[in-house]
């Protein structure tokens, strides 16, 4: 029961703060399973269809094996579906459903990531991305870089 209440509290808090580019904090099981190779991405930034595509090909996850056992896999899928976006700009644009290929991501970022960085590692610029905080306050752009290419 305690676990359910905690999850509910987290979901409520997450929903309330999302408008301010605060998407987290995320439950420990999500960070453990989806935050090792990259920060745990905000579930709110991809649609339900997008997450389904991602979860359906975890054994070939953008060039690496990210497979999960059935039980944790089901828990993660459930969590993602509950917080998934329903906005068109967060919809997948290709079969692998890369978040970086959504119209929202392209609009908010440069055409390519700066040298020796990867768009996959949000924390390079969004210094508190690990906590789900993508606010301006914690944003540190590389020297000389503006918001977008234009």
């Amino acid at each position: 029961m305690k676990h359910i209440l905690l999850t509910f509290a987290l979901l409520t808090a997450t929903a309330a703060l999302a408008d301010n580019y605060h998407y987290g904090p995320f439950p420990a099981h999500y960070v453990e399973e989806c935050g090792s190779c990259h920060v745990a991405y905000p579930p709110q930034l991809l649609t339900s269809t997008g997450w389904q595509k991602v979860m359906a090909q975890l054994n070939k996850h953008y060039g690496v094996d990210a497979s999960l056992d059935a039980k944790p896999r089901a828990a993660i899928a459930d969590f993602l579906q509950r917080l998934a976006s329903n906005r068109d700009k967060h919809a997948p644009t290709e079969a692998t459903a890369r978040m970086t290929n959504t119209t929202w991501f392209a609009h908010e970022h440069w055409k390519s990531s700066p040298a020796k960085t990867s768009f996959a590692d949000c924390a390079t610029c969004h210094t508190d991305a690990g906590k789900g905080d993508y606010s301006e306050r914690s944003l540190k752009r590389p020297a000389g870089k503006r918001h977008r290419d234009d």
Partner: protein
């Protein structure tokens, strides 16, 4: 808990040949015919902080001497052997390979 890696090593090696740290080091550094080795992400020195070959995210040291959390949870160990062996070798690792790998990592004090 401190001795868990040793216990794991003993279990891995139980049915196979004795483990070899030397073979483990060769295994660690080899690309096994593909693009990556263990060292691609965990660096040439298992005692140091690495970074993911694709995402660039920081990876804490793989050697238990530098990172006591390593190899303390069997389910986590198996999850990562499964994933990373597929990434590097395009197949599952054998018990012998796992034993050698651990024997090599345990040479660091």
């Amino acid at each position: 808990m401190k001795f868990f890696p040793l216990l794991l090593l003993a279990l891995c090696a139980g049915t196979a040949l004795a483990s070899s740290a030397q073979r483990g080091e060769i295994f660690y550094r080899s690309q096994h015919g593909g693009d990556w080795s263990c060292a691609s992400c965990h660096t040439d020195n298992p005692m140091t902080v690495g970074s993911h070959a694709v995402t660039k995210k920081t990876i804490q040291p793989i050697a238990p001497a530098a990172n006591p959390e390593r190899f303390t949870r069997p389910e986590k160990v198996e999850k990562w052997f499964k994933r990373n062996c597929n990434d590097v070798l395009k197949r599952a690792c054998t018990p012998q390979e796992k034993a050698d790998f651990l024997a090599y990592l345990l040479t660091f004090k």
